[in-house]
Symmetry: C2
Subunit: 740 residues, 2 copies
């Protein structure tokens, strides 16, 4: 009997840092997020974040230059919706509170917290806060407050409103992972009816607007600003409210339609539960025999789903909607670390995320021109609105690989879903424009009898090595980008032989891209017999071992970039990331050499690192190592491994933990559309079960030490390769392969 | 008969841009400078600059990191001393004026200008402004205004005061060559006596203070704020004033001593004239048969002398004291482009400039630690107070070569002057600390059987190529820095065998530095048979020729740094700069190959470039080319070649024009203390005559197409090599060598 753990409770919440808990217990629905602020004492970091709602400001440079990103884009910290004011009838407020318990139900999306609330006179009451997001009705959030007497018995006046935040100063931080403080938007509030507050927010410079509404739902007819509760009777008294967070509009226009504000709390609870039922039905992952881990992976997938934009105009901020770290920007890790989960389990969501990239293609074309490249598109390294917002190009714009990362994700989406409509409408244009960029950006270089197509002065995923020539990962991904043009062009031509001409693509162009792909230079070290991270990485000195102790890590917070750059030290998987993506590229003995080598020069200061090291260790038949790396990724935020969970969750790492299970322990990858599965389950886990879609089919895979079972739950029969054996899967029989 | 041109007059000053003229006709004395602002209409850019008087402000980064320069240092634009208020007795002011003539006498330092001044009623008078710096009495500046009737005849009220400038906003510019606006300091003014204004300036953050005084000197007993002149008589009426600009004090303390304020204008004129007589006597350069060029070189040396700090606590700002471009910072070009002139002609001034570096050695040691280097010192790339003020490290702190540049200058100073006292007191410590830095910063690298000592992730002089490995110039200079330790250690030990121990230097250390020097890697291209600018420069693609047209230059104002960095394109002489400094390093055929090669990939977007190309062309026996490059350097500011002379003069280029004459046309260099001279005079010049010191001797060299004459003017006899022949020079006979 498999037990699944979906109930997140943390020990000793009373002694945890509030900011950490606010992140961990944050709720979201892809459109907006609500941090779990203390409803009584609040928090200077206000609690609501709307995906894609940002303010701009001129970026001030110590020393500027042509083509630098001109404006910052910063997600706005919007007013806390959870705040409640409790007063005695004589006007004494209850001002302090202590969270005594918290539980997040990952099957229903319900967050339940207990607080002891105290007045300045030392009077105490018990407060239970239940809150839940509308998941299908994505503009809504509901909260219910249940009050009970503790040492205070008597009448209370409850009021609730959205408060205008104080002005905040813009700050500069030496930690690039933090957000900057954006300017405060213009806020106006009124009360269209006694129980509904309207709160209009217009940014001053980015031209966006949004309206929030707050209403009381139960008891019916309650007044928002004054409601009297009598705690004399030792009975629980419950008041419910809902908030409506409007869609982001451009041109500072306020949506004139007042939304329905009579959803009972129960309505939102049902909405949320039905959403999560569907999510788990299509993407359930269960780790049997390890409840802590089982819970962690459920938590990670829960937060991934909460954070992902679902409207084709937003993506997944680096910190999700759980915090404003990294300014709410979208980076390459959406495509490389998070999208694989959605592509494999929820193609509709994956499609919406890729649609976002298609929407910002015009800005990407513009950006390529700003970088002196006459053709194609260069996606911004970090952005919300599509324009580059990175203010440090050596670890920003120079990470050109984002172009090929997005192209890769489009390719995988097609390979997994077979959705040629999307390719025809959006995907092919993305791949074509990025390929055009690489073609124009790269340069031919003749070395002896070798004709190389090279990419110079780039930064790969490893941000501890900047502005180098021929970063292996970048080059390998660009090569793949070129190949994708031909691959998808053939698919499009099969459907409609005239289709390619509409993109302006001629047969000679396809030959040209193939020729470029064939000549992309992939640096290799004959000495080490491994792929070289770039032209110079392997010949740099090793980072001094006495500077690798915990008080020196992460290096970026202790050393000047120049100091870090001149050593052979990597922040994260770089060449190994390419090895993971392209397993057919190298034989096992080379993979093992590369792994040993790069493991020795990697700090894992990035949260994107350990999951890849876990996957490759699993593939290499080193399950203990794979397990160790995985355990650090699986619970990174739950244990605050990087000490900055307060700024928000590490979304890419959440995705990475899923990758480690599926691509690592289960050895999953697609090859020409055929799923390959290899059982690399570490001994610490009794059984790993997961679901995913392949084409139209929903499959469940169950790995144990003895067998690898695959079952078709829905959709047409399909072929797959399990532990090296090609199997046909139909509805009648599960496939069970005994492990070696 | 040789004619010398010392009278700078520009044609058609009425139609020149005022900002350009204000720079060109600026006066200074190493301590402070006065831009030639229109005395009536003034200029928003106020006109007084004090060397080393700066304000600090936090540097705001788009994205900060550990170890970045924290504070800007910005020279302050202080109130204009030249302003004069002219009114009719009924209170109508004369508000507009037109400069009709200007003449700067480079033999006396006297600036004489003519203005036509007009009231709002259209009444005009003629104004002659004569101004002069105290050069020995360096706190003083004097001005005399001579008024004459034009169409206005009658009484006038003249008043003069130092005005408090308006508040200015801090600005960010995309042009890194401009200054930033510093915060306005606290200013207080009072009148200790009716004819003296005191003006106290305290910076708000840098803790500096200075006091300026303004007083009327003639007519005696005049009132500063109100003096009545009657122009009814068509006679000239002259009023003279003087300003005293105090020394910069730390800790915001104001010097309580009121200076003598009764220097007649004539006194300062005499002071200035005696100073310039001495300067020309020891450093005269005459180009016969080319008055325009003769004047230009006089002008350049005049401005060099005006700009150089003479107090051991200041150096030469990149724009001198003629403008606030580059924020009044001192860079490497002081040592590499300007100091050679002083070392060769005015050792006392050279010593003061090197003393400045010794003063900031503690900050340089601190900076090395911030860069993760445990020993030695790293001088700031740009600074006033010794702390790093560069806000873009790829073209700032990464230009580590400044350490070796300063060491080189110390070595040359010793080699030229034999001043072992300075070496013992200051110089050796500079060379030792910079050598320690290189030793710790560099890394060993075994390539086949070659053991290399390398310097990684550095930027050389060429700022169009950043963060590369083994920049040839940097490595060659570091090698020289190591060698200097041994060379000067031997000199010190000869004087006192125990002296080295006092520096903590053991014999084994000297061996170690020699070993490092022997193994410093100097990149060489076997393909091209030239020294390679760095490990990757030669294998990058050439900059597209269609982007080299004038509308694309300078590249830094048209292209993102990433675009520039990935091409094989240089802003200025880089490897060739090393070739110029170390002529014995390579044979003529290699020099020619290198020259051809690098000339093809250099834009000369830096004002430091053409002089070096001129020198090497001369050495290579290509006088026409040498002449062409020289002519662009010689008159760069006078013709506003770079279109930004308004921001201030290009001081390094002024020094470079002297280098081009002396090291180029005259082929001068020192080898083991022996001067070498080779006649490379281009046919456009009849004769080049110059003076310089070698040790205690003052020598005059005269080059013509026929002969090279050398004459000992003062000091002991010496040996020198003229056109390949070793000659002994004594007082009785000039040496005249017929050219080949």
């Amino acid at each position: 009997m498999i037990t699944r753990d979906y109930q997140l409770t943390l020990k000793d919440v009373a002694n945890e840092k509030p900011e950490y808990l606010e992140t961990i217990f944050s709720l979201a629905n892809g459109h907006f997020g609500v941090r779990a602020n203390d409803p009584i004492s609040g928090n200077p970091i206000t609690g609501t974040l709307i995906n894609g709602f940002y303010e701009v400001a001129p970026i001030v440079y110590g020393e500027g230059a042509v083509g630098y990103a001109k404006q910052s884009q910063t997600i706005l910290n919007l007013p806390d919706l959870r705040h409640l004011t409790i007063m005695t009838v004589s006007g004494h407020p209850f001002t302090t509170s202590q969270r005594t318990a918290a539980k997040l139900d990952l099957q229903t999306g319900m967050l339940t917290e207990q607080y002891q609330v105290t007045s300045q006179q030392g009077e105490t009451i018990q407060l239970t806060v239940k809150s839940v997001m509308g998941q299908n009705q994505r503009n809504y959030w509901g909260v219910s407050y249940t009050l009970m007497a503790d040492n205070y018995h008597g009448p209370l006046v409850i009021s609730k409103s959205i408060a205008v935040p104080a002005e905040a100063e813009s700050i500069a931080s030496a930690d690039p992972r933090k957000t900057r403080m954006a300017g405060i938007p213009d806020c106006q509030t009124d009360f269209p009816s006694p129980d509904i507050q309207r709160y209009q927010i217009k940014t001053r410079h980015s031209g966006q607007a949004v309206t929030m509404y707050l209403g009381m739902t139960e008891p019916q007819g309650g007044t928002l600003l004054k409601y009297r509760v009598d705690l004399s009777d030792d009975q629980p008294h419950t008041l419910s409210y809902q908030a409506y967070v409007g869609n982001v509009s451009a041109n500072n226009t306020i949506d004139p339609i007042i939304p329905t504000m009579d959803h009972a709390f129960k309505t939102l609870e049902v909405d949320s539960q039905s959403f999560w039922e569907k999510i788990w039905a299509q993407s359930e992952v269960t780790v049997d025999g390890h409840p802590e881990l089982d819970l962690a992976i459920h938590y990670n997938l829960f937060q991934l789903n909460q954070s992902a934009g679902r409207d084709g105009r937003t993506a997944i901020p680096a910190k999700g909607l759980s915090g404003s770290g990294y300014e709410g920007h979208y980076f390459w890790d959406t495509e490389m670390y998070m999208l694989p989960y959605f592509t494999a389990t929820n193609p509709q969501m994956a499609r919406e995320l890729l649609l976002y990239r298609y929407q910002i293609l015009p800005q990407a074309k513009q950006r390529a021109r700003q970088l002196g490249v006459e053709h194609g598109a260069l996606f911004a390294w970090r952005t919300i609105n599509g324009e580059e917002a990175s203010a440090f190009f050596p670890a920003g714009t120079a990470q050109y690989h984002i172009d090929a990362d997005i192209a890769y994700a489009v390719g995988k989406y097609y390979e997994t879903t077979g959705d040629l409509d999307f390719i025809e409408q959006c995907g092919f244009e993305i791949i074509l424009e990025t390929a055009k960029f690489w073609a124009d950006f790269g340069t031919w270089h003749q070395v002896g009898d070798q004709t190389r197509f090279e990419f110079l002065t780039v930064t790969g995923p490893d941000e501890y090595t900047a502005l180098v020539n021929n970063n292996y990962y970048t080059n390998r991904m660009a090569k793949h980008n070129f190949e994708l043009v031909g691959y998808l062009a053939r698919k499009l031509a099969e459907r409609d032989p005239n289709r390619l001409a509409a993109y302006g693509v001629k047969p000679a162009d396809l030959e040209h891209y193939q020729q470029l792909a064939d000549h992309v230079y992939l640096p290799y070290s004959n000495d080490q017999q491994i792929n070289a991270q770039d032209d110079s990485f392997l010949s740099k000195p090793r980072w001094p071992s006495d500077r690798m102790t915990p008080d020196h890590l992460p290096l970026l917070l202790h050393y000047h970039p120049l100091t870090i750059y001149r050593y052979q030290i990597a922040k994260q998987a770089d060449t190994l990331l390419a090895d993971y993506l392209f397993p057919a590229d190298l034989a096992m003995d080379q993979l093992k050499r590369e792994y040993r080598y790069y493991e020795g020069v990697t700090t894992h200061d990035s949260s994107l690192s350990r999951s890849i090291f876990s996957i490759l260790a699993a593939r290499m038949g080193e399950p203990e190592k794979a397990y160790r790396y995985f355990m650090d990724t699986a619970r990174m935020d739950l244990v605050d491994l990087q000490k900055n969970t307060a700024d928000g969750l590490h979304l890419a790492n959440l995705g990475g933990s899923w990758l480690a299970l599926i691509a690592g322990f289960s050895g999953f990858y697609l090859k020409d559309g055929v799923p390959f599965i290899s059982n690399h389950l570490p001994k610490e886990l009794n059984q790993l079960t997961y679901r995913m879609r392949v084409g139209e089919s929903l499959v469940e895979v169950a790995l144990s030490a003895q067998t690898t079972k695959v079952q078709l739950l829905d959709g047409p029969m399909l072929q797959l390769n399990v532990n090296g054996q090609l199997q046909t899967l139909d509805h009648d029989t599960a496939v069970a392969v005994t492990n070696d």
